[in-house]
Structures are given as structure tokens and as C-alpha cells.
């Protein structure tokens, strides 16, 4: 995404242009929805989070610091909304909640959809912090620096968290016969 274009759209939105805000919405709604879905594994929750993210962004544009990237700011709102949703429901998911039966034998290869489902189930077995770094890196294609900005942690912590998350995910997916 073009950061300068984002800043221009933010500035125009601040001055009252709904069209500019809609262009920001077009740019990021799919990415935000997908990130929320991967983190929450619930279509309706992801929809609610996405709505809340853009409403909050709209209301708080004056608080956006132009020194940072808009996408980092809006992703951060999305993750905070997702965390709040998890907390309010007391449902930080456990491995038990997302156990997926897989019979992956040479005679029966998993369909694309089934594989996606198993991967999503494996993701939900990870603790929230680990799940988030996998989602940002692998599904939202964020760099270490961008992840650090979004999560407000150092690049060193990003790497450490990502490496651990991958190790855990590999173990789970190996057990499911995906790797």
C-alpha cells in the first residue's frame, strides 16, 4: 500500500471527505476482515470487529499520528478489538475447542478446503500472541518492522515470538499429517 496516498486520504477524511474515507475502507476492509477472521475463527465476529475498527478509525482520525503508517494504526485497532472480544467472552480458545479430526491417508488426500480448515484449527490452538504473529506474517504479509509497529514491540521480540509460533504450529500440523 502507498503510505503517502494513505496520509492524503486521512487528511481529506479529517477535513470531512467521506469519499476519501471510503477509499481507505476499500483499501483495508478485506485485509482487516481476514486478519480478524484468522485470529477469531468466527465469521460474524470478524464482521463485527471490522465494522468497529472502521467506526473507531473514523471517529479518532484526529488522534492518528502521521509519523506512523495508517495501516499499522488500523491493524492495531483491529487486534485490540479482537483481544477485547476474546476477553469479553472469556473465550481464549484452547486446543480442545478446535480439535479437528483428520484422516489423512495416502488413499484420501485432503481437499483444499479441508486443509484450510485444519490449518485454521491449528492456529486456534496457539496462544493469542503467537496466533497474531503468524496471521500478520503469513496472511497479511507484514515485515518484521511492520509487525513491530502494529504490536508495539521490538523487532527482536517479533522474531522471537514468530520463531516460537512457527515451531508450535509445525508440531501441531505434523501431528495432523499436513506437514
Amino acid at each position: 500500500m502507498d503510505d503517502n496516498e494513505d496520509l492524503k486520504l486521512v487528511q481529506e477524511s479529517r477535513q470531512g471527505s467521506r469519499e476519501s474515507f471510503e477509499r481507505l475502507l476499500v483499501r483495508y476492509e478485506k485485509a482487516i476482515f481476514n486478519a480478524a477472521y484468522r485470529v477469531l475463527h468466527d465469521f460474524e465476529d470478524a464482521k463485527d470487529v471490522t465494522q468497529n475498527v472502521f467506526l473507531k478509525a473514523f471517529e479518532n482520525l484526529d488522534h492518528f499520528n502521521g509519523k506512523h503508517r495508517f495501516f499499522s494504526w488500523i491493524y492495531r485497532i483491529a487486534l485490540n478489538e479482537s483481544i477485547n472480544l476474546c476477553k469479553s467472552r472469556r473465550r481464549f480458545d484452547t486446543a480442545e475447542d478446535h480439535r479437528i479430526e483428520v484422516r489423512n491417508t495416502p488413499e484420501r488426500l485432503l481437499s483444499r478446503k479441508e486443509t484450510d480448515g485444519v490449518i485454521q484449527g491449528a492456529l486456534m490452538c496457539l496462544e493469542f500472541d503467537y496466533r497474531v504473529v503468524i496471521v500478520l506474517r503469513h496472511f497479511n504479509d507484514c515485515s518484521y518492522q511492520e509487525m513491530g509497529e502494529i504490536l508495539e514491540i521490538s523487532e527482536k521480540t517479533v522474531k522471537s515470538r514468530l520463531f516460537t509460533a512457527r515451531t508450535l504450529l509445525r508440531e501441531i500440523l505434523s501431528g495432523k499429517g499436513i506437514l
Binding site: 464482521k47 484450510d116 515451531t167 506437514l179
Partner: protein, 262 residues
């Protein structure tokens, strides 16, 4: 976990993530040539990367875009940051605030011999903003209403709107004193989804089943979103207290889950 040196693990991950420099890649290649366990680690990580890269994106719901646009307020709010006149330690220790409120309440209770709150006038008992009227630019999507609070110690406004399956309350309050806000609702139908307070966030928010409460001081915007998964009719009892005294009470509501008045 692998027993590989940290530097090697870091390089392997950096290579997979496209974050390694040419010099680092050359060093890694050299290392891999003589360390089969490192080569195996790299192959497994590359496989994980490949599997994850083939996961398909989820299509966004068809009504998401229009829903968000319809829910946007007609105009963006203009928030002014004002200096808060409370001391930091009071903000950090909410019990102290509650202690003051409790003491004031007990004194008042003793003085009035059981009359905890002053009698409300019919006007104060009425709805905060009366029957909800659909916002003109929201058509059938949401309903939005607003009322102004105009008391010597409490000013501002309260809004209720529907947001997807949720109900959103926005309290724009200004008061030189600490205002305790309490919202009661049917806890079997509604649950708290999120809470946000600007500027700053004081640790005064409490939620129990069917009740939420928070404090506001100075000029603050507080946004509370209630989850309404069962699409139940909205009926919220809202009360504002200052120093333990009920200043305003009203109900926010909509007769159907879409927020429309029938």
C-alpha cells in the same frame, strides 16, 4: 525445538521471510552445506511457509462495506483534549474514588434517613432521547438518537446506535466532578463487547452480567459496544451519579432488534 545456534535459526527464518541480505544468504548457504540438521530445519520451515501461503483468503461479507458506510456518523466528532483535574494516584486507584463515593452516600443516607436519592422529576424519568427515530441517512440499517444533558455539574450528550448485531452507546460527557455512569440491561440477552474512553483510559470500567459502570471526568468520550447476538429488543437503563447522588436517569431503547421504533 532445534538445537541449532540461534544465529543460524534466525538466518533460516530471515531467508524464508525474504529479510536476509545477500551476505547473510551466502553465509547461510555455506553453513547449510556442512550442517544437515540445519538443512532439514530449513526444509521444514519452507514447507510450513508453502502450506500457509496456499491458504485462501476469506471473502468479505457482501453487506460489510455498505454496512460500515451506513453506520458512520454523519459528521466526524471534534474532540478537544482538556486537562484533567484529578491527581494521577486517584486515577490509578479506583477504590479510592469508590471510597469517596461510598462515604458521601453513607452521609447522605444518614442525613435523609433512608432517602438515598432525591426524587426525580417526570422529565428526568423520561427517556434520555425519547423514542428512537431512524436516522435519515441510515435508512433501514441503523437508528440513532441523541439527547443533551444540561445540569449544573453535568453536560454533554448520549447516543445510541445499532451497529451490525451490536448496540453502541457513545457518552460525550463533560463535568468538573467525577461522574459515575451505570447502565443496566438484560444480561441474558446482551453482553459487553468493547469499551473505549478518550482521551486516556482510566481503570474504572466494571462489567457484571446485566450491569456496566464507569467513571468520566473532565471532557471525555466513552464508547461502549454491547453484543446482541440474539437480536433482542434493546432496553438500557442509564443512570448518572455525582458524589453518590443520582443526577439523571433515563432509558435508551428500541422496540425491535434493528433499532426501529414500531
Amino acid at each position: 525445538m532445534s538445537d541449532l545456534p540461534d544465529q543460524c535459526v534466525e538466518l533460516i527464518h530471515a531467508e524464508v521471510d525474504g529479510a536476509a541480505t545477500a551476505r547473510e544468504l551466502a553465509a547461510l548457504r555455506e553453513y547449510l552445506a556442512s550442517h544437515p540438521e540445519a538443512k532439514k530445519e530449513r526444509a521444514e520451515l519452507a514447507k510450513l511457509n508453502d502450506v500457509l501461503s496456499r491458504v485462501e483468503q476469506v471473502e468479505t461479507p457482501g453487506d460489510l462495506h455498505t454496512g460500515i458506510l451506513a453506520a458512520l456518523p454523519a459528521r466526524r466528532p471534534i474532540l478537544e483534549t482538556v486537562a484533567r483535574n484529578s491527581s494521577p494516584w486517584r486515577s490509578r486507584i479506583p477504590f479510592v474514588r469508590y471510597g469517596y463515593a461510598l462515604a458521601a452516600g453513607l452521609l447522605l443516607g444518614a442525613a435523609l434517613t433512608g432517602v438515598a436519592f432525591r426524587s426525580l422529576t417526570p422529565q428526568e424519568k423520561s427517556d434520555v432521547f425519547g423514542t428512537l427515530a431512524a436516522r435519515q441517512d441510515a435508512t433501514s440499517y441503523g437508528a440513532l438518537g441523541q439527547t443533551n444533558l444540561d445540569y449544573p455539574d453535568l453536560g454533554g450528550s448520549v447516543q445510541l446506535s445499532r451497529l451490525g448485531s451490536n448496540a453502541m452507546m457513545v457518552f460525550d460527557l463533560h463535568s468538573q466532578k467525577v461522574v459515575e455512569v451505570e447502565v443496566r440491561f438484560d444480561g441474558s440477552q446482551l453482553g459487553v463487547m468493547s469499551f473505549d474512553q478518550q482521551p486516556g483510559a482510566i481503570p474504572s470500567f466494571e462489567a457484571k452480567e446485566g450491569t456496566i459502570s464507569f467513571q468520566s471526568e473532565g471532557k471525555q468520550r466513552t464508547t461502549v459496544i454491547l453484543k446482541n447476538e440474539k437480536h433482542a429488543p434493546l432496553m438500557l437503563d442509564v443512570r448518572f451519579y455525582i458524589s453518590g447522588t443520582l443526577v439523571h436517569q433515563g432509558t435508551l431503547g428500541a422496540k425491535d432488534s434493528a433499532g426501529r421504533s414500531k
